[in-house]
Symmetry: C2
Subunit: 335 residues, 2 copies
């Protein structure tokens, strides 16, 4: 019988506003060999994602809150190093939700084998994983793009937004994107985005979007909320579709912020504002894998990664999401 030590990150206090390193602690956990039906995995990569902020509140939601004193969870990818079940062999590459730790061990139902087709492992936490599926399904199913239409994408340099922009171009759309730095803007231009706005330096976001979309927007893919949403409501054309994917500007609010002052546009302009979470579209997973995989192979979809190394950096990686530290997918490399 062998024992393995895993370093793991626990949530020890609920953030009040923006998360801080003091909300987290590093723990050491020891695992025995997996018993029958259990699988033991060495995590190579783990994901930090903005939605995790919501699970740090103690309130009912579509996923239960993280428990205080418990190891956090999230998407990860790794390799089976011991198995108590014939469905999994040592060496299998698997994805799962037992991130924020170096060793993942649990019932086999928690793990999904991945055929990587030669694609880098960490892509299965990004472009080929949850963020990719979020971008693909949210944009195609809710925005229902038609060639020639204009989409406004906020948070466009992030893991999801950067893919929405490129899928929109592949579908023949005109893309107006917002991001928070000149470097991000340059990258977005390099992958074909038509117009990019640096919202941190634009003197007036509404005027900036209006000048990029003279005829208004037919679609809005929202990762940011707040002022961005208000601007989108203002520039929307009649019949525009809004995919509400995220409102990162609101996640750390310590008290409820006021909603968009011009929400009444939803009536006069016959807008559809639809929120979603990626699991709504589970039935489209095979289609996503095939189409996105094809775009990756053909070089039609590009992506950036921001990598921090070591489980002890996971809190900083997570906190960085709210400060625009990441270009593209924020990842933590574990071994």
């Amino acid at each position: 019988m062998s024992q393995l030590t895993s370093r793991e990150i626990r949530l020890i206090s609920r953030p009040d506003g923006e998360p801080t390193p003091q909300n987290f602690e590093l723990a050491h956990v020891t695992y025995d060999d997996p018993s029958p039906g259990m699988v033991q995995v060495r995590n190579y990569w783990m994901s930090v994602d903005p939605y995790m902020r919501g699970r740090m509140y103690d309130r009912p939601s579509y996923v239960p809150p993280f428990g205080l004193g418990e190891t956090l969870q999230g998407h990860a990818i790794g390799e089976v190093i011991a198995s108590g079940d014939t469905d999994f062999a040592v060496g299998d590459i698997v994805t799962h939700m037992l991130g924020w730790r170096e060793i993942a061990q649990g019932p086999k139902a928690l793990f999904t084998k991945v055929d990587t087709h030669g694609i880098a492992l960490q892509a299965f936490l990004g472009v080929m994983g949850m963020p990719g599926m979020t971008a693909y399904c949210g944009f195609l199913e809710i925005c229902t793009p038609k060639a020639g239409e204009t989409v406004f994408v906020s948070g466009a340099a992030g893991a999801v937004g950067s893919l929405v922009c490129q899928i929109a171009k592949l579908k023949g759309c005109n893309v107006v994107a917002s991001c928070g730095s000149e470097a991000k803007a340059a990258w977005l231009k390099s992958v074909g985005v038509d117009e990019v706005i640096n919202y941190k330096t634009a003197p007036n976001l509404l005027k900036a979007v209006q000048s990029c979309a003279h005829q208004g927007i037919d679609m809005y893919f929202d990762n940011v909320g707040g002022e961005h949403l208000e601007v989108a409501l203002e520039v929307a054309r009649v019949g525009a579709r809004f995919a509400e994917c995220g409102m990162i500007s609101q996640y750390n609010a310590t008290r409820p912020t006021s909603g968009p002052k011009n929400l009444i546009n939803v009536i006069g302009k016959s807008l559809k504002i639809q929120g979603f979470i990626v699991s709504n579209f589970a039935h489209l997973h095979a289609q996503f894998v095939e189409e996105m995989g094809g775009w990756i192979k053909s070089g039609d979809i590009k992506w950036e990664e921001t990598i921090m190394t070591g489980i002890d950096k996971a809190p900083a990686a997570f906190i960085g999401l709210f400060n625009g530290v990441n270009a593209g997918k924020m990842l933590v490399k574990l071994s």
Copy 2:
């Protein structure tokens, strides 16, 4: 050649906040016999509707603003009294948009002949007209009700809301309604609404709705906006559908009011918030006439009317919409 004098209501100043009688003036207009291609109609009934408030602002919208010094427009029903075209004969009953006047005269394309099937004329401005079509299409097409689901209807005693409640009952739904008086509440109960809240006397609207909809709501039909919308976002179940028909609480706002503080629920609960105007559903008009006509004949749909008599009362009737003066459809009887 004969001449007819028509009394008409003109908009002479744009309301600042709630409209007042001083925004309107009574004018006398003389009409000659209709020339070829023109039709002359004596209006029997005209409609006042909340949406007209929007046309009193000088801003772009889905319909152009009313012109200052010009006779107002709106739905009306009357009888052809002279015709310059063989498509219309004296005695034909017609609906049209040339309300706010005793005589409507214009090109034949502006008039639509109505076969009343013995239904009272004014019903074609209400249950069989634009408000009925709004309720029918907005609820069925956007809320997509299923038997056993719960709908919350705000402004439920109004021309549209009172029909939504009854259509929802016909579709097997549980109906929670809000209105602004005990008399309206009693009427709503009398037509089968399951739970009615008088929002003017309820100490806490959120708690009132929660106590009427223990499992939350699957649909929200919004005529009111403001706090009602915020409450609906709070009590919505995952996947709920919001039909945004009106926000009467906002129409007289002299500056932009803040939107719902909890709009972020649209993501976590995967809500669809869809605005509409009745003309989006023009293709469903024949279906509406058949189904609603059937419900009227079978007695399944009931309605109330609040009637003011004389064109000079039209401004008061309109202003009354914002003070809950009307139960059901507000109408002005012209002759």
